[in-house]
Each structure stands twice: as structure tokens, then as C-alpha cells.
Symmetry: C2
Subunit: 310 residues, 2 copies
């Protein structure tokens, strides 16, 4: 095996994944554990990490880097937010080191989150997605979309900086409405129903400016029988994604509308977005699957963490 | 006491209220019970009604009418929806009679719900609010707003018909986001914070076309400390109401925007909407408090139920 130079940890709200990389960023080995930041009891983050890969840490004198919600207020240590436009070099200068535990003095370096300011003055934040975007190595001017609980639309600037971005609560709203709300009561889950998803996307695109109104259609369509109970989950999913695509791609005043986006994320979710983007008349492509580890390796390299190990 | 001519029952999702009215619709007595349609076990609606007012039903040979979710699929008996534009006379012809129970052959008449069709072809529905609007006796051309879990904006036509309406899931979204979602985690509930409510209304009005994005500001404002934890509930409430007001008052293509609305509902909620409407530059007034019973009496009269008792 080639010499491991970096242990790269992707630690989100619901997942923990660790990758052993060589000095060139090539993947040597990987492991993952279910349950992310939210499942760590009594803030025993060091113990959780050691449980997954104490052998790696003991055997290899490599640097350790982490990105994602592990750097949030609910995570291991709150890492700062750096302001947009934000580059890898800036992130590399703002890593938050944390000692693994009392018996292990090795340091894990947490990547900072990103903060952007919308025209009205309100802030927006991300944590983890910035590293994926850097790892995707997108060209300046490109718009990319990271679907999820809190979906992110981001615009890439010169030198691969994250110029600005916008969060949509699409995934969380879908979860809340279906699990805890009245819309879920008429739904039967399981089957994938593409036609109902498409119908939802069209409603969402057409009426995104009245989003909190249009989603009520997932109740009336069920009551009136225009959509079968098995199709209602995809109908609502389509509406929420349609609302997001229409609102995000419209462009702010004085800007041109988005015509092409790069999707970064898991297959199932990206395929939903691909279809919604196509219906909206937007072209899309997908980033490489290893964007996260690639980004972590790029930040570690910029921070000089790899040289220190050489 | 004047002779009771009508027992008017307002039976919603979370409340049951019974009013004894004379032939002119004047209120003689009223009672209410906590727990509405959702708290009735094993569909024993007759028993629940008799528990509240079996003495009235026994002592007075009056007609019985009910409106609200009692006529929904989850209620006592599913009453039909009549299509907009919908008048009192049409509702009076479409009452759904239900026998109180095996030992009591008196009939309760359930008022139908209303259905409207939006330009895209999707349906919208209401149940109970139509009776309140008829009872408010609004002039043709008037727009009225019934704030709540599922807020309704309705337009009144000739002869007091409900011409068309639009539902906004404002109240339900507030409940889901604060009780079950990530936005609630940074919030401290209790205090009313008008300034933060106003800030929220302004964000919602300005950016209603990206509703599923703008509400994320209730998280970032908490993370960044620009709004105190005690102010975050009102900030989110303001945003959701601002989003609703901007979307509903804009008017559909070819229509003039709304300039004045009549609010129908409880005091606390109406005062929030009054403030949001004022910030949006809309004038508002309030309907009489007894709109529900007045509407039920008007439907009963149109159905000839009062004459039958005379």
C-alpha cells in the first residue's frame, strides 16, 4: 500500500465517513459508520472517531482533516465561517484544530464553514458543501446545486472561489410535511411515481411565487382523487423541487438567469433534480463522485498539512 | 328566555362550540368543549355532541346545523364540496343530514365545503370558513382573509357569493418548523417581540418568490446573533405571514392587486396580520366576531330549517 498522507473525514448530520488518502489525494481505503453528529452522545466525538479508525490513526503518522456539521455549534468544535467570495487558500488559513482526546494528542483540522450576505443584508451559511464544491473543481461562472435537507445553489468565481450561494429548505420541508403534517395523512409511501413527480414539478415551477399556497395542492389532489395516494409523495417532492429551481434559477435583478448547473450529490436525489431542471429548460451535468475527499485533500495541501507529513 | 330555533355547531379540528339561537339569529346561550374532530374516539361524534348539549336537544325542538371539519373525511360524515362561485342558497340545497345516534333520531345538518379551481387546473378547498364569510356579510368585490393553520384568502362576488379563494399553509408551516425542524432549535418561546416580527415581515414581503429559501434566515439570524433566541419565533412568524401577504395580494395576471382586506378570525392572529398588511401598504378592517353563528343561521334559514320549527 502507498503511504497514507491524509485521513479525510466527512462528518455530517447523519453520517461519518473516513478516507485514507496518499500524498496525491488517491483513495487508499475508506470506512463509514451510520449516525453522524446528531448521534454522538455526551459530545464524545473523539471516542466516536477512534471507534471507527483508531488503528489507522495509530499506524499512520498522517494529517487529519474534517468537514461538515462536525464544525457546527452542535458538533465537536464550532469552526468559524469565512465570508464569500471564499477560496481554498482562505479556508486553509482558518482551520480549527481539535485534539482527538486526552490519550491521543494528534490534531484533527476542521474546515471552516462559509457565510454569504444576501442583498437585503441577511446571512446565509453552509458547512461541508464548500469542500465538495472546491473538490469538484468547477470553472468560473458555473452555478452548482447540492440537493439535500438544505439544498445549496452556489456560484463559482475566479480561481474557483465560492462567490455566493443560496440555501433552500427543500429536503427538510419535505420531511416535515410528510412525517408530521396534514399532507402526509393521505399519502402512501413506497413506489416511485415519475408522472406525479413531473406534475408536481410543473405546478411548483409555474407558481413558485406562492410556494406556501401551491403545496396545499398535495392535499386537494388527494382529496379529489386527481392523484393516487401512492403518487402524492412524489407530487409534493416535485412541487418543492420545482419551487426551488424556479426561484434559484431566475437570477437576481441585474443578473442573467441560470442556464446550466452542475449537480453534486447522491444519485437518487441528483436524478430528481436532473428531471426537474430539464422540465425547467435548464441543462445539467454531474460532478465527480469523489468531490468531498478531493476537496478535503486540496484544503489540506493548501494548509501545508501534507508537506508536514512528507 | 326566547324560544330557541337553531342549535348552531362550530366543530373544527381542535374545538367544538355550540350556540343556541332564536329565530332571528340572536344568541341565547353558548357552550364549548376542548378537543375538536381529531379528539373524537371511535367516530363517536353523536356521543360527543350529546355530552356537550343533550339537555338542549331534549328540551328544545329546534333545528341543528354544523359547519367545519366535522364534514371532512376525518369528521362525522363527509359532506360534499360545492364549486365556486358559491352562494348561501347553493349551500342550503346541499346540506348533509346525519342522525345524532341510535337513540336520538334528530338530524344534524352539515354545511358543505367549498371547492375552487386555480388557473392551472388544480383544486383548492375549504370547510367552515365559507360559513364565516357568509356570516360576515361582505360587499361584492371585497377580499377577506381568515388567518389560521391553513390561511384562506377569498374574493366575494355578486350577492355575497364566494367567488374564489386561495389557501396558504402558513400556520401549519410555522408549527412544523418550530416544533419539529431545525429552526426551532435556536428559539426561545414566550415573549412577544414586535420588532423581530416586523423584520420578518419585511424579509418575507421582499423575497416571497423564494419562500423556501428566505425562511432559512431564521436559522442564520440565530447563528449570527442578529436576532435574539427570544425573537426568532416572531421573526419566522413575520416571514411566513409576509410571504403569504405578498403572494396573495399580488393578484393574478389581468387582475388588479388587492388594496384592502377584511380580517375574520381570533384577535391575536388578526392583529399580526393587521401589522403585516400595514407594512405591505394594504388597508384592513375586521369582521364582526359572531360571523360563524350568523353564517350558520343564514344557511339554516335559506334551507327552510327555521320555518319548519316555527
Amino acid at each position: 500500500m502507498r503511504t497514507p498522507a491524509l485521513l479525510a473525514i466527512d462528518w455530517g448530520t447523519s453520517n461519518l465517513r473516513a478516507c485514507l488518502l496518499d500524498a496525491d489525494g488517491a483513495l487508499l481505503e475508506h470506512r463509514s459508520a451510520p449516525g453522524g453528529v446528531m448521534s454522538v452522545k455526551d459530545a464524545l466525538f473523539g471516542a466516536a472517531l477512534l471507534k471507527l479508525c483508531s488503528d489507522w490513526i495509530r499506524e499512520h503518522d498522517c494529517a487529519l482533516i474534517a468537514s461538515g456539521m462536525v464544525g457546527s455549534r452542535q458538533g465537536w468544535r464550532e469552526a468559524p465561517y469565512i465570508d464569500c467570495p471564499a477560496s481554498i487558500a482562505q479556508a486553509a488559513r482558518a482551520l480549527t484544530p481539535v485534539q482527538i482526546d486526552a490519550d491521543c494528542d494528534r490534531l484533527l483540522h476542521i474546515v471552516p464553514g462559509l457565510r454569504t450576505t444576501h442583498p437585503s443584508g441577511r446571512f446565509d451559511v453552509m458547512r461541508g458543501e464548500e469542500t465538495q464544491m472546491w473538490g469538484a473543481q468547477l470553472a468560473p461562472g458555473r452555478c452548482c446545486v447540492l440537493p439535500g435537507t438544505h439544498s445549496k445553489w452556489a456560484w463559482i468565481g475566479d480561481g474557483g472561489t465560492v462567490e455566493r450561494f443560496q440555501t433552500f429548505m427543500t429536503g427538510e420541508l419535505y420531511g416535515l410535511l410528510t412525517r408530521h403534517g396534514i399532507l402526509g395523512r393521505l399519502m402512501v409511501f413506497g413506489e416511485r411515481r415519475v408522472d406525479d413527480f413531473v406534475a408536481g414539478v410543473k405546478e411548483g415551477l409555474a407558481d413558485h411565487a406562492a410556494a406556501t399556497h401551491v403545496i396545499f395542492a398535495a392535499r386537494t389532489a388527494g382529496l379529489m382523487g386527481t392523484i393516487a395516494p401512492e403518487g402524492l409523495p412524489d407530487y409534493l417532492s416535485g412541487m418543492l423541487i420545482g419551487i426551488e429551481v424556479a426561484a434559484a434559477s431566475a437570477g437576481r435583478s441585474g443578473e442573467t438567469a441560470v442556464k446550466h448547473v452542475t449537480l453534486i450529490g447522491d444519485d437518487e436525489l441528483c436524478s430528481r433534480y436532473e428531471l426537474a431542471l430539464e422540465i425547467a429548460g435548464l441543462a445539467s451535468d454531474r460532478a465527480t463522485q469523489d468531490a468531498t475527499t478531493r476537496g478535503q485533500w486540496m484544503v489540506a495541501r493548501a494548509a501545508g498539512l501534507l508537506r508536514a507529513m512528507a
